[in-house]
Every structure is written in structure tokens, then in C-alpha cells.
């Protein structure tokens, strides 16, 4: 089988490291807009792709596009309407591929690729993951087939471990957090120091503990899980390829990462733990957030560089209004989050934080952020969009806020009225995209079509 040679446009330049932020940004933009290295079914589709990508970049760069782009978080709905269950995301990912293709066939007006995000259920089973419950499989605690996965709250890292995490984040995660969260990787706790083989005299001492017994079993299990995971992920890659080349709907996310505070709060200390730490262990919590910043940048960069797509989705969880005061946000959440995004921008990427809940009391803090224009895109759930546009509009593009409840229970007329109002107040001046406020699980084709058609009526400049 002969592999198609990559076109020059998508090869990293030799002087990458020395390039400026703008040069890196432009490189990725060139790759994204290019239609050369993608096997479009015909020239018309290639044109459509280019037009949609240009429209997206116009919005990102705070210009008025020919038409406001329409984004949609559609992951739950696409499977439901195709008659597949949430369990298929874990155990029958080929069904999810088919569901996604069917969705794009039925809704060709979907401007950008829908989310196709499978989870390797068999790998999860092998590892014995404790931080979530999910549908399907034959575990006693499996959720019902049509229920989406959910976090299992817990203190997977005790407060007494903060120092260890701060001193050596990756080492801590590997030797302590893995055994705490992956039931079947407990033996990794005894994994020898990576510094052990640095002198010829101690190479053998490094290798000996890996040679047999529990550590070897744990490593083998990890590899077995990886082998189970790969086939589960391939249908998604195929789906995206088809969505791009057949429907001309660009995929722009290349990486996924999380805010440092959320990493500590979601699956290390747990929600309750992290909230109490603001009082009980404030200095350690702040130091821990700082300590994981490089990791949050690294996995954003790893994904985006491998995929050559610069947009990095950052779902935000625990810094929203109501979760903490403005002072607490400024002290605990914002500094490491900001640093993480700046690291991504530095690498030529475009962070796309998506705020779950509302950020009405954070807009001034964001507006004071000294960040290059048009290098971040902010997505919102329940934030007041008019105010967000006023306060952030000269800094970065925004999208979102069309609620899951409107999709689930509204009429086409209500959807029309809402999107009209939203577009009339936020679209003028550019830097705006229509977006849903949460992943859409339930809706009707009529309501969805009204949503997808809204920018043609109210978003043309």
C-alpha cells in the first residue's frame, strides 16, 4: 500500500521553535484552510469546506464573516436519533460512526463536524476505572444503556499527598493516582525511579523490579488496554474523515485539555475536597494548580500538533459563578488557567474554553486579561451573551448559550425567536458564532433545523 506523500503545507517548518506566535498561528491556519491534502469527493465539497473554514477564521479573528458560523455540540443526540444507545459510545463505536454519518446526511446544513467521541469501554473494564460510571458492559454498577457517563465523586488523592504532587506531578500521578483510580494498576505504586538507570551501575537495579511479578502484570495490562482502545477509536477517525471529505464540514478541534483547578478538583481531590481545600489547604491547592500547568499545555500541544489542528477545547467546570467568589476565582482558579492558555497560544494554538454554568461575574477578569487579540475563542453555557460581547468582543470571539432546555422542549418558533435575538445583539461587528450551551441530547428535527438555519436569516452581513 503506497502512502500519499504529505503536501508541503502540512509539514512543520524546520525553524518551528524559533518562529513567532503569529508565524505558528499562520502555519496552522494555512493547514486548516488548505484543501490539497484532503481527499474531497469533488471540487464543490472542497469549496464548501474552504468557505466554512474561512468563515470560522473570520469570526476567530474578530472580523464579520460572510455569515455567522453555527457550532453545535451534538454528541448525545446523534446516537439517540439513529436508534443507538449511549452504551454504544463505549462498546459499539462502529454504531456511533454510522450515527454521525447519518446525522450529516440528514442535516447537510451542519457547517462543522459533529462531535464523535467514543470511549473505549473494554479498556476501561480491563483497567478497572473508578472515577466514572458508564452504560453498557456487564459490570454490576453499569448505568442503564441510555444514560450518559457520569463522574463518581471521590478523594482519589488525599490532602496529605499535595506535597508529593507538587514536587513531581507526573511521578505522583503514575505511582499514586493511577493505583488509586485504576483498580487493576495498583502495582505501579512500586514502579522504580526513572532516575535509577542514569548511571551504568544502576541500570540493572531499574530493570529488575520490572522483570516479573505485579509490575510486569500491570504494564502488560496497560498495553492490553491500549490494544483494546485503538479499534474502538478507529470508527471515529473514519467518521471524521468522511464528514470532512464527503460533506465538507470541517473539524477544527485538534486537542482537548482541562483547566488546572478542574484537574485537581474533578478526579484528584473531588469537588468537596477541592472546595474545602480553599480553606484548609489554600497554599498547597494553589501550588498544585501551578504544578500541573505544564501537563495541561503538553496534552493540548501533543493532540493539536499530531492532528495539525490548532483549536483546543477546554471544558470548564468548577470556576463558574456560584462555585466560588470572584476573589476565590482570582486567587485559586484564574492564575494557572490563564498560564495554561498562554502556554497554548505561545505554541501557536487557539484555546477554546467552554464555560459550563455561567461566567457573568468573571467577565471583567477576562476583559482585563492582557492577551493577543483573536487568539482565544470563548464558549458559554448560561452567561449573558450581550454583556459578554460588550466586555470581551474586542479581545476574542465568543459563542454559545442556546440552551439544552430550549432544544429539548422548545418549539421551532421559540428557537427562531431566541436565535434571532441572540444574533441581532451579538453578530454585528463580528467575532461571534452561534453555539449551543450544552451538548444536545434531546431535540426534534424541526427545532434543530430552525437552529441550523438561523444564521442564514439573521446572521448574514
Amino acid at each position: 500500500m503506497s502512502e500519499k506523500k504529505p503536501t508541503p503545507v502540512s509539514v512543520f517548518p524546520d525553524n518551528w521553535v524559533a518562529m513567532s506566535i503569529d508565524e505558528k498561528y499562520d502555519f496552522f491556519k494555512g493547514v486548516m484552510l488548505s484543501t490539497e491534502d484532503k481527499a474531497f469527493v469533488n471540487a464543490e465539497v472542497a469549496e464548501k469546506y474552504k468557505r466554512r473554514m474561512t468563515r470560522l477564521y473570520d469570526a476567530v479573528e474578530l472580523k464579520e464573516p460572510d455569515r455567522v458560523p453555527t457550532l453545535l455540540l451534538s454528541e448525545g443526540y446523534i446516537a439517540r436519533r439513529a436508534g443507538y444507545s449511549q452504551a454504544d459510545y463505549f462498546y459499539n463505536t462502529e454504531n456511533i460512526r454510522q450515527a454521525a454519518i447519518k446525522f450529516h446526511e440528514d442535516f447537510p446544513e451542519m457547517e462543522y463536524a459533529s462531535t464523535v467521541l467514543p470511549y473505549p469501554g473494554e479498556a476501561f473494564d480491563l483497567l478497572g476505572i473508578k472515577m466514572l460510571r458508564w452504560p453498557g458492559g456487564d459490570r454490576p454498577d453499569a448505568l442503564p444503556d441510555n444514560t450518559s457517563w457520569q463522574y463518581v465523586e471521590g478523594e482519589y488523592m488525599p490532602a496529605s499527598d499535595y506535597d508529593e504532587l507538587i514536587q513531581n506531578p507526573e511521578g505522583y500521578v503514575f505511582r499514586k493516582w493511577f493505583p488509586s483510580v485504576f483498580e487493576n494498576l495498583k502495582a505501579l505504586a512500586a514502579f522504580p525511579s526513572l532516575f535509577a538507570p542514569m548511571e551504568p551501575a544502576t541500570v540493572a537495579a531499574f530493570l529488575a523490579p520490572l522483570a516479573g511479578g505485579p509490575i510486569r502484570d500491570a504494564l502488560n495490562l496497560l498495553l492490553e488496554a491500549a490494544d483494546k482502545a485503538l479499534p474502538a477509536l478507529i470508527p471515529a477517525a473514519l467518521a471524521y474523515n468522511q464528514i470532512i471529505t464527503q460533506f465538507g464540514s470541517p473539524r477544527f478541534y485538534g486537542g482537548l485539555t482541562f483547566a488546572p483547578f478542574d484537574i485537581i478538583g474533578d478526579t484528584m481531590r473531588g469537588t468537596k475536597g477541592v472546595m474545602l481545600d480553599m480553606y484548609r489547604n489554600p497554599d498547597k491547592l494553589m501550588a498544585a494548580c501551578e504544578a500541573v500547568v505544564p501537563a495541561t499545555i503538553k496534552f493540548a500541544v501533543d493532540g493539536a500538533y499530531a492532528n495539525k489542528r490548532p483549536f483546543v477545547l477546554i471544558p470548564l467546570h468548577k470556576g463558574a459563578d456560584g462555585f466560588m467568589s470572584e476573589e476565590q476565582f482570582t486567587q485559586f482558579y484564574w492564575p494557572s488557567f490563564k498560564k495554561s492558555m498562554e502556554g497554548m497560544i505561545e505554541a501557536g494554538l487557539i484555546p477554546v474554553p467552554f464555560v459550563e454554568g455561567s461566567y457573568n461575574n468573571r467577565l471583567d477578569i477576562l476583559s482585563d486579561w492582557d492577551v493577543p487579540k483573536g487568539k482565544v475563542v470563548f464558549g458559554f453555557d448560561q452567561t449573558d451573551m450581550k454583556t459578554a460581547k460588550e466586555k470581551l468582543g474586542d479581545k476574542f470571539a465568543i459563542f454559545g448559550n442556546v440552551s439544552g432546555s430550549l432544544f429539548a422542549t422548545g418549539t421551532p418558533e421559540e428557537m427562531d425567536a431566541y436565535t434571532k435575538d441572540l444574533l441581532e445583539s451579538c453578530a454585528p461587528g463580528g467575532g461571534f458564532m452561534l453555539g449551543s450551551g450544552s451538548p444536545i441530547e434531546f431535540t426534534t428535527p424541526e427545532v434543530l433545523r430552525t437552529y441550523l438555519g438561523a444564521t442564514k436569516k439573521y446572521g448574514v452581513s
Binding site: G76, R133, L143, P144, N146, T147, S148, Q150, Y151, V152, E153, T271, K272, M275, L276, M278, Y279, R280, G322, F323, M324, S325, Q328, E356, G357, N361, S403, G404, S405, L406, A408, T409, G410, S438, P439, I440, E441, F442
Partner: protein
């Protein structure tokens, strides 16, 4: 020293709150009075929450302090007749949803406010709500759900209560993706965005 205890709780000085509690008890203060000081402090924190001056960390911290105080005080209460309750409430996270943090805060705050709370936990099917309401005679039901996935189970639970003839039971719903539109959709009597709304609704409904 009572004011010191109240201040310590309001100012989130956990160690001081425990210390002062012990000092008060050692010096012969009525254990019921100590609990009452805690309750006063919680009222202030509740007010601050409503005004946007206190948030989730403060509610959770206050919960921790109140639990510690009542754990200290309770062994000293010689089977005293417990204070009369304002009313009974059945609460749970609806079927298919396993989120419990917000629900736990609501339960705790309602309990502190003088309601008798039956917490059914998470992933609670409609029939279990019906059963619990019949068993306890509760006139208020609270349904929690974090996901959009909770819309239909909430609707089903409201319907199940009606179908069981429990038409005088009032239902409040709450959670991250709950709004007026979902209140209409589920035929619930009211919705709330936070624990304080749950308390004021409950008080309103018992005529408090």
C-alpha cells in the same frame, strides 16, 4: 462566648469553631443552646449566599463545621424531645443521574432549617419517590438532576406522584440545566437554582 462561636463559623475559622464549642460545653452551656448558636451562624451564611457573598465552598465548610459541632453535642443530649419539625420533605437525584453534591447541600440546609428530610440518594426511580412519600406522609418532594438527561425522569416522577393520587404533594426541581421551561415541561410546581431557593420554597409551602 456565644458570639465568638457564631463569628468563628461565619468567618470559616474551623479550628476555632470546634475549640469554642468545647469551651462552651466545658463551662456548662446548654448543649441545645450551642446548637442554636450554630444555627444562627448558618442563617447568616445562608443570607450571604443569597446576596452573592458566600458560595459553594462556604456552604460545604459550614456543613463540615456544623457536623463536627453536632457530633460533639449530640452525646450530651439526654434523649431530649427534638425540636418540632416544620414539615417533611422527600429528596433524591432522579433515575439515571448519580450527581449528589448539590443534593447533599440542599438536604443539609433543609435539615438545619428545621425540616425532616428523607434523602433517597441518587439514581432514584419514580416508584421509589412515590413509596417514600406514602411512607413518610411528606407533602414536599425535591427532585435533583445535573444532566439534560434528567428532564424526562423528572417529568415521569411528577406524573407518578399524580398517578398515585398524591395530588397535594408539591414538587420542586433543581440542577445545572433546569430552568422555567423545564419546570413547565415536567409539570413541577417550582424550580430553584440553589439551596437557598429550596429553603424559601419549602417554607413558603408549609406556610412558614
Amino acid at each position: 462566648m456565644s458570639q465568638e462561636l457564631i463569628n468563628a463559623i461565619i468567618e470559616m475559622r474551623e479550628d476555632d469553631a470546634i475549640l469554642i464549642t468545647n469551651q462552651l460545653l466545658d463551662s456548662g452551656t446548654d448543649p441545645m443552646a450551642v446548637l442554636a448558636f450554630g444555627k444562627q451562624a448558618m442563617d447568616v451564611i445562608g443570607e450571604k449566599f443569597e446576596k452573592g457573598e458566600a458560595f459553594i465552598p462556604e456552604l460545604i465548610m459550614a456543613g463540615e463545621m456544623m457536623t463536627a459541632i453536632s457530633d460533639t453535642v449530640k452525646p450530651l443530649l439526654a434523649n431530649e424531645a427534638s425540636a418540632e419539625k416544620k414539615g417533611k420533605i422527600v429528596i433524591g437525584t432522579v433515575e439515571g443521574d448519580i450527581h449528589d453534591i448539590a443534593k447533599d447541600i440542599v438536604c443539609f440546609m433543609l435539615d438545619l432549617d428545621g425540616f425532616e428530610v428523607t434523602d433517597l440518594g441518587v439514581d432514584v426511580p419514580p416508584a421509589k419517590f412515590v413509596e417514600a412519600v406514602k411512607e413518610t406522609g411528606a407533602k414536599i418532594v425535591g427532585l435533583s438532576g445535573f444532566l439534560t438527561l434528567a428532564y424526562d425522569p423528572m417529568k415521569d416522577t411528577v406524573a407518578a406522584l399524580k398517578d398515585a393520587g398524591l395530588t397535594d404533594v408539591k414538587v420542586m426541581i433543581g440542577g445545572g440545566q433546569i430552568d422555567e421551561q423545564i419546570k413547565e415541561y415536567t409539570s413541577a410546581d417550582a424550580f430553584g437554582k440553589d439551596a437557598m431557593t429550596a429553603i424559601s420554597l419549602a417554607n413558603e409551602w408549609v406556610g412558614g
